[in-house]
Symmetry: C2
Subunit: 341 residues, 2 copies
């Protein structure tokens, strides 16, 4: 069986994932920045493993991975002779591999109705998810840059960001990092303060890597430095992504985001959340109803397999936090900016 | 020449430093919790190296190290035939080895006037610094526990702390951790949330080690989780130490402290600073005049000698931040509690 290959992605600096005839190719983000390793995913277990250990991560990228995951399951089912019930169960496992990001389930749910129409129809819709995400990212970049430039006087800008919201976190370009790319393209970025983003260091490993590749000046800092960097007047605006946005404007973001928001509110600088429309969840009235994923204790207690804390110590490792709408200056999506909640 | 040995230290769970006939013995805190290694310090360069790389750290412990450092310099000067000017210059180097903690300079300045009276007089005064610090710690523990129990209703308590302020950070017992020990001795601690305290992990390596040794229940968490742990209602009180306290009540603490303070203020729970009187600096009118030490970028960009971030990336690594007095609920010292600023 032949399948359409991935759509062209103009101005996409790096591809977090790509559909090839052999299956879904993922850039293994756990190996960056030391090594560029690709994973060729041909079965559901491998995909779920890649999602769980964050080889692919970032809300919009998970949306694309979910969409292609349906195709992966269909192919595996064809090889292994699954009935419809088994296929449905396997797709549900992909859908639920991580609980907080709404986009993963959204990607699955968008393409799954096309299963009766066949693999090519599913793949065409998955490619549309990718294409639309990249287009949305570029629109977010423009909308966010325009909004920030209308609210912040200083030129060039000193921007703070947390976690990774760039090409690696999306189908291409980036959400919060897409805004930073857009500001840089306009020659208006002095420096980006990059929170290292413990425990998995998406900031120092991934965001710094993306910024380095484009020559955007940046300083990696411990997450704990963010509040004082902001209070000391070294930052003009903070921009971050979102994994789920509730109806009331509360957002679930990478753990540490609400601390940045508190500091921005205290310092009187804008705290900007950037995410595609697919991140808005009509089924979530407020942040209080968002399930917060708790990840393995070993991520905090060990480093590269070596224990850091005492053997008997336990860890608390929530992957996300909820930033209440009252602390958010603006939510930027591809259609515009919501700046009143 | 014989010298008095260190004073007895009742109820001191571990010794960060100790004077022996051979010189100053430091517990090398960079090797914990994996290994218990002692450093025998007999010259000024070795002492400064130990201070700079945080083999000995914590404001009160640095006060004792400064006091004993004068004795180390006197012995080295005697061996090497230094004149008074050289001795003075070497002692000044010890005094200035780290800029933010006022206690280091305080320890040096307290014993240095006794140099003309000889080594035994200097050592006797240094031992007094140690003895008084331990006594002060115990008083801080009692004062802090009493204050917290008068302001927080829940029993048992869920406490959050940042960095290490225990026996390792002092001559013995601890400041903020001394309050936690005291609360635990009264049977009133449910759990201690321990911020891991990047980049050098004093929380997961040292505080968790001290708590583990005494069987105090604790959970290590990424620093970035502190704000949401507090906002989620999982914490009743936060207690931290201080490296310098200005006349207006602003305090310099380990980087990340002001983020904890912002979250406590937002959640309406007490943010308690614990420090001996020696931490109050009459020469510092406000936090704005405190020099913030910036430490090597490699602490952030590398892990155990392995590069984490891209080779070209730079880091911002301030070791401390300033918490404004308006965010501090109480400052506890050995004489009582200041809870209005």
């Amino acid at each position: 069986m032949t399948s359409p290959i991935s759509p062209a992605t103009p101005a996409s600096p790096v591809r977090s994932l790509e559909w090839l005839d052999t299956g879904l190719r993922l850039l293994d983000q756990t190996a960056l920045p030391q090594r560029v390793v690709y994973l060729d995913i041909t079965d559901v277990d491998a995909l779920i493993d890649a999602i769980r250990r964050l080889a692919v991560r970032g809300a919009p990228a998970l949306g694309a991975a979910g969409a292609y995951g349906v195709a992966v399951a269909m192919r595996q089912g064809e090889r292994q002779g699954w009935d419809a019930g088994r296929l449905d169960a396997e797709i549900t496992r992909v859908r639920d591999a991580r609980p907080t990001a709404v986009n993963l389930a959204g990607g699955v749910d968008r393409v799954a109705p096309l299963i009766p129409a066949g693999l090519d129809a599913v793949l065409a819709e998955a490619h549309a998810v990718v294409r639309e995400d990249i287009e949305a990212n570029h629109a977010i970049g423009r909308n966010g840059a325009d909004w920030i430039l209308s609210r912040v006087e200083r030129r060039p800008l000193r921007v703070l960001t947390h976690c990774n919201t760039g090409s690696l976190a999306t189908a291409g370009w980036g959400t919060a990092l897409g805004i930073i790319r857009e500001l840089h393209a306009r020659g208006l970025v002095e420096v980006v303060y990059v929170d290292e983003t413990r425990p998995l260091l998406q900031g120092s490993r991934l965001t710094a890597w993306e910024l380095d590749q484009e020559g955007i000046p940046h300083l990696v800092q411990p997450d704990s430095a963010a509040a004082s960097t902001i209070l000391r007047g070294l930052v003009d605006v903070a921009v971050i992504g979102a994994d789920r946005i509730a109806l009331n404007g509360d957002t679930a973001n990478k753990i540490g985001s609400v601390g940045v928001a508190l500091a921005c509110a205290d310092a009187g600088i804008p705290f900007v959340v950037a995410a595609p429309r697919t991140t808005f969840d009509d089924h979530t009235p407020t942040g209080a109803t968002i399930t917060i994923e708790e990840r393995p204790e070993s991520e905090v207690l060990e480093w590269a397999g070596t224990r850091v804390a005492p053997t008997a110590s336990r860890a608390f490792n929530p992957a996300f936090d909820v930033t209440p709408a009252r602390l958010i200056s603006a939510i930027v999506d591809e259609t515009g900016v919501r700046d009143t909640f």
